[in-house]
């Protein structure tokens, strides 16, 4: 039977854990608000860009050079998968769900005899794939810290991807990331980044209609092709930026939920330990009383 002192130390240590988790929860909550604001602020740009792109997309015939970002290489053999995770843990299933999903995707692609490369973003997924699929890793980005570094980090990643693409290192690029649904729920999402997948954004028939009507009205300067050549690389960066921001907000949300849970569990544990403490104390007192009384009786 544990002594009273043992239980007391246990209560104290659970108590300090609780303090830490509740502090982390508070920090995550304020960071979440900031990340959400950032994601919100980035929305007008990306939605405008998408609109412009969809109105221009029909004018692209299969071509050489930059247009390939839209039309693809015409092959379907080499894949690059980009899992986007956090740099730090203690955020529930946030990182492991990304890793699991990516792992499944890689396996599936491999079973279809495709060549797969990995370009993990974030320490947690990099470390995971260094352990499991080391030979597939092309490059990695860690300490992205998008909420302070901003757009530049997205530019860097997109430049890397595009240079690999135009060297012919891969035909398709798929991002795996946590989509921010609400403060407490994230959804693991796969998004095809290169070649641009317009069909998943709109209902294809509908978008085609609006595109053709838009095209008739707008004047393009210098001309559609030139604008498209500027627009496509920028779109890749913006998509990455958006994904990074969403993942950042998701991470804070996941951490907040995880820490909230931990705080609650610690509270429950303290309650049950306190109960145990009181019972033990009571038992000791009763035992002592019995000893005294039986001692007195025997005299």
């Amino acid at each position: 039977m544990p002594s009273l002192k043992d239980i007391k130390t246990q209560i104290n240590s659970v108590g300090s854990t609780k303090k830490i988790t509740s502090a982390m929860k508070m920090v995550a909550a304020s960071k979440l608000r900031r990340s959400q604001e950032k994601a919100e602020a980035a929305r007008p740009y990306s939605s405008r860009l998408e609109e412009m792109l969809s109105s221009l997309a029909t004018s692209a015939s299969s071509g050489e050079g930059i247009i390939k970002l839209l039309t693809g290489t015409g092959e379907d053999q080499n894949y690059i998968v980009v899992p986007v995770s956090a740099d730090r843990g203690l955020c529930g299933g946030f990182n492991s769900s990304i890793n699991r999903e990516t792992f499944k995707l890689v396996k599936k692609l491999k079973s279809e005899n495709k060549k797969v490369q990995l370009l993990p973003i974030g320490k947690k997924s990099r470390d995971f794939f260094l352990r499991t699929l080391k030979e597939n890793i092309t490059d990695s980005f860690i300490d992205t810290n998008v909420s302070s570094a901003g757009y530049n980090i997205a530019l860097e990643i997109s430049a890397k991807l595009q240079s690999l693409y135009f060297e012919g290192k891969f035909d398709k690029c798929i991002l795996v990331y946590n989509k921010f649904k609400s403060a407490i729920s994230q959804e693991v999402t796969q998004q095809q980044l290169i070649p641009l997948d317009i069909s998943n954004k709109n209902n294809e028939d509908k978008s085609n209609e609006t595109e053709s009507s838009n095209k008739a009205i707008y004047t393009y300067e210098p001309d559609e092709e030139t604008i498209l050549q500027d627009l496509l690389p920028k779109n890749v960066s913006i998509q990455i930026f958006k994904v990074l921001l969403e993942s950042d907000a998701g991470e804070q949300g996941a951490r907040m939920a995880a820490m909230d849970n931990a705080t609650r569990n610690a509270g429950e544990m303290i309650d049950s330990l306190t109960l145990k403490y009181n019972r033990t104390r009571q038992a000791f007192i009763t035992k002592e009383l019995i000893e005294i009384i039986s001692g007195a009786e025997s005299i």
Partner: protein, 132 residues
């Protein structure tokens, strides 16, 4: 006089959003003046100044954008800038210093940055459209 709504957006946030009298944007093939009722237009931009005027053609604000896009329709003008800075916040000396540092490096990236920095200097020196 009529007004046109003007949005200036950078990837990180919405920088300017108001009703204005006229905007001049640095189109790739030359500057474009946008008045209310402008015909529909999509243009890509070079690095340069975006000038915002009030109803009486008084200069409200000027920004520096390093490339981007503009979308214009009769009621609205939207400029998507790659990076956006207010002209007042640019300092000629520090930009010149930056150029010198960049010239020592010889990478694709630094060449790009030199182009942008030169455009900044040019924009600072330019005095057209200050008064209309």
């Amino acid at each position: 006089m009529a007004k046109i709504s003007f949005d200036l957006v950078s990837p990180e946030n919405l920088i300017f959003n108001d009703e204005v009298g006229m905007i001049i944007v640095p189109g790739k093939d030359g500057d474009i003046g946008v008045l209310p009722g402008h015909s529909k237009l999509i243009s890509s931009l070079r690095s340069g100044r975006v000038m915002v005027y009030g109803e009486n053609k008084d200069l409200l604000k000027s920004f520096f954008v390093s490339g981007g896009f503009a979308e214009v329709n009769p009621e609205k003008c939207i400029v998507l800038g790659e990076t956006v800075e207010e002209m007042n916040s640019l300092d000629k000396n520090s930009i010149e210093k930056e150029i010198q540092e960049l010239q020592n490096k010889d990478t694709d990236e630094s060449k790009q940055q030199i182009l942008i920095a030169n455009a900044k200097i040019e924009a600072l020196n330019a005095s057209f459209y200050e008064k209309i």
